[in-house]
């Protein structure tokens, strides 16, 4: 097929029907290459979350086409049967709030995904610890989420998003709770991961501090996307 990364073509999403119908996505076109990090910016109600949810296979679009990696996942209808397995194996999520599982320690929060996919506990934990080391939270590996600072929680959540080395990472306001130094650190980690694992990453953000770091930015307004070349500033 030739595509890699994320490829979205004339994606549409209508909520409801009749008089109350909302055209949340009217025409979305988007390409993210493997190893690339793009920003998605738009005013409130413009359709950012709707786009992430469609791409994340938790809501069903109305029409269009979505390709993840080399797999057509949507073409005027789902092309994959098991959406949960798709999410588990292909997509990493990073949310504004870290949403860690409170009854699992840091290592197991991260190791849970490979465990769900059938990897042995010890192997999954080994991978988790390695990733936590890369994200500089290895020293908290045995702590419970409630004992971590906000920034540490966010890094653990990022580790969880990355652990299965998904070809795609969707991040919704990942830096909102962080100060600018930590926000930039998170962006740096995501960029490193993208390069290292050939991951295509979309970051939804309002955050003025990190917008200049994107090489490419998609603006979305009233459900329509426009592409823009970003500053791609270095963030050290």
């Amino acid at each position: 097929m030739g595509y890699k990364g994320i490829h979205i073509e004339s994606l549409k999403k209508r909520y409801g029907s009749g008089d109350t119908a909302v055209e949340a996505l009217k025409n979305v076109d988007m390409q993210v290459a493997p190893g690339e990090v793009v920003g998605l910016i738009g005013p409130s109600g413009s359709g950012k979350s709707t786009l992430l949810k469609s791409l994340g296979a938790v809501i069903e679009p109305t029409a269009g086409r979505m390709i993840l990696g080399d797999e057509v996942i949507y073409d005027d209808g789902w092309k994959v049967k098991d959406l949960r397995a798709l999410r588990r194996d292909k997509i990493g999520f990073v949310f504004q709030a870290p949403y860690l599982i409170p009854f699992l320690d840091v290592t197991d929060n991260v190791a849970l995904l490979p465990m769900l996919a059938g990897v042995s506990n010890s192997e999954a934990r080994k991978r988790a610890v390695k990733l936590l080391k890369a994200l500089d939270v290895e020293h908290r590996a045995k702590a419970m989420p409630s004992q971590l600072s906000g920034g540490e929680q966010q890094r653990v959540a990022i580790a969880r998003g990355l652990i299965n080395r998904p070809p795609v990472i969707l991040a919704d306001e990942p830096t909102a709770p962080l100060d600018s130094e930590r926000a930039l650190a998170v962006i740096r980690i995501l960029n490193d991961m993208a390069r290292q694992y050939e991951t295509a990453i979309i970051i939804v953000t309002h955050d003025e501090k990190i917008i200049p770091t994107f090489k490419r930015i998609y603006h979305i307004r009233d459900g329509v996307t426009y592409e823009e070349v970003g500053e791609g500033r270095n963030f050290t």
């Binding site: 999520f93 949310f95 769900l116």
Partner: protein, 401 residues
């Protein structure tokens, strides 16, 4: 894969243990109720076994002597003993009453036994202290559950008895301890009126011209004498010669003596099926109510715990957890709660309820197994509401607006 349920329980173990203990007390009561029923059945069987009888001969068309009152003449046993297949026949009387001892009185079943030797039907088969009754009057053997001691003086109606022996596991079908006294005394106790009443009765008899006839001297005395004795007993306990079929012997007594006869099996059916049937139904009702209450508690707790985890469940679904895993998480917690409850309940029933309960509580291992099964089933069913709530959670919620 790690056990999500286990981790969650360890994380919130206080809540679990607390609820589990509460549930456990309920289960303990439930097990004890079952134990009380078993105890009643066992008491009934002990009553029958310890009487040493193969057949109970009672007044015609009654369910006596335990379930209904029955009275037959106290010389019936003689003619019964001559019947083929009968090894021995012994009179017996039963009277449930308060027996006074010093300041207190105890509810007991006073049993009148014929003179004889140990092994006679109706006699306590074994003693834990003292000796059997040897004299014809004013001696008693009491079940230790009555609290009486050797040498105590008991007052039954107007007469005083000395406790000469103690026995155990001799209780009536309602759990009252038995006190054995000589038959003649027991017949009198059943019948004996107070002095004023005797005085009144004699006066009435003397005033009755039918009895007080000057031309028949001695008639009044004879009538009064016949009014002052009680020629009745409640039943005759019959032992069968070995090699004879109890049903055949029973049938011949029914036919020739025109009395009602029950075999051991029929008697057990009467005791269990009729005498304690009402109690059994009450206990069954309690068991049902307790089960419903327990399920409601488990359902409520598990539902609340699940609602508290809605966000985590949304995240789990978003990252690709199968429904099966989420169902297992909730169901395992529910069953774990049941397990804690069952263990606490079993301990409560065994160590707390059974020893202090004022009735014989017989905890059968099989009942515990059934109880355990019921707890597990109840817990699984109770988790259904919570599971439905969890399955309805939309993974999109984890992404937010």
């Amino acid at each position: 894969m790690i056990s999500l349920a286990g981790r969650d329980i360890m994380h919130a173990w206080g809540k679990f243990v607390f609820t589990g203990v509460g549930l456990g007390l309920l289960i303990g009561v439930t097990l004890s109720m079952a134990g009380i029923y078993r105890g009643m059945v066992d008491d009934a069987k002990a009553l029958l076994d310890n009487s040493g009888a193969d057949l109970w001969v009672v007044q015609q068309d009654t369910l006596g002597p335990y379930a209904e009152s029955s009275s037959i003449y106290d010389d019936t046993w003689r003619s019964l003993r001559g019947m083929p297949g009968v090894a021995s026949a012994a009179n017996v009387t039963y009277l449930t009453m308060q027996v006074r001892q010093g300041e207190r009185d105890v509810r007991t079943m006073v049993t009148g036994v014929t003179p004889g030797a140990a092994g006679t039907s109706g006699w306590p088969p074994y003693l834990v202290a003292g000796r059997q009754i040897t004299r014809g009057h004013y001696e008693a053997v009491a079940d230790i559950a009555s609290g009486f001691k050797l040498g105590d003086t008991l007052q039954i109606r107007r007469n005083y008895y000395t406790v000469v022996g103690l026995t155990r596991r001799m209780v009536s079908s309602s759990g009252d301890p038995m006190v054995f006294i000589p038959l003649k005394d027991a017949q009198e106790a059943q019948f004996l009126k107070d002095n004023d009443a005797i005085h009144q009765q004699r006066r009435r008899t003397a005033e009755n011209p039918a009895f007080n006839r000057p031309q028949v001297p001695g008639l009044l005395d004879a009538v009064i004498a016949s009014q002052s004795i009680n020629p009745y007993v409640n039943a005759v306990l019959v032992q069968i010669e070995s090699g004879h079929n109890s049903e055949v012997v029973a049938e011949s007594i029914r036919r020739w003596k025109r009395l009602t006869v029950y075999t051991r099996n029929q008697m057990e059916e009467i005791l269990v099926g009729k005498l304690i049937a009402t109690s059994a139904r009450q206990i069954a009702m309690f068991l049902v109510i307790l089960s419903i209450v327990s399920s409601a508690i488990v359902a409520f707790i598990i539902y609340t715990l699940t609602l508290g985890k809605i966000r985590e469940i949304a995240v789990l679904k978003l990252i690709g957890t199968k429904n099966r895993t989420i169902i297992a998480l909730i169901m395992q917690q529910s069953v774990a709660l049941g397990l804690i409850g069952f263990v606490v309940g079993k301990i409560t029933a065994t160590l707390l309820m059974a020893p202090i309960f004022p009735k014989y509580v017989l905890l059968e291992p099989l009942d515990s197994v059934i109880g355990f099964g019921a707890v597990v089933v109840i817990c699984i069913l109770s988790s259904i509401i919570a599971i439905r709530a969890a399955l309805k959670v939309d993974p999109a919620e984890a992404i937010g607006g």
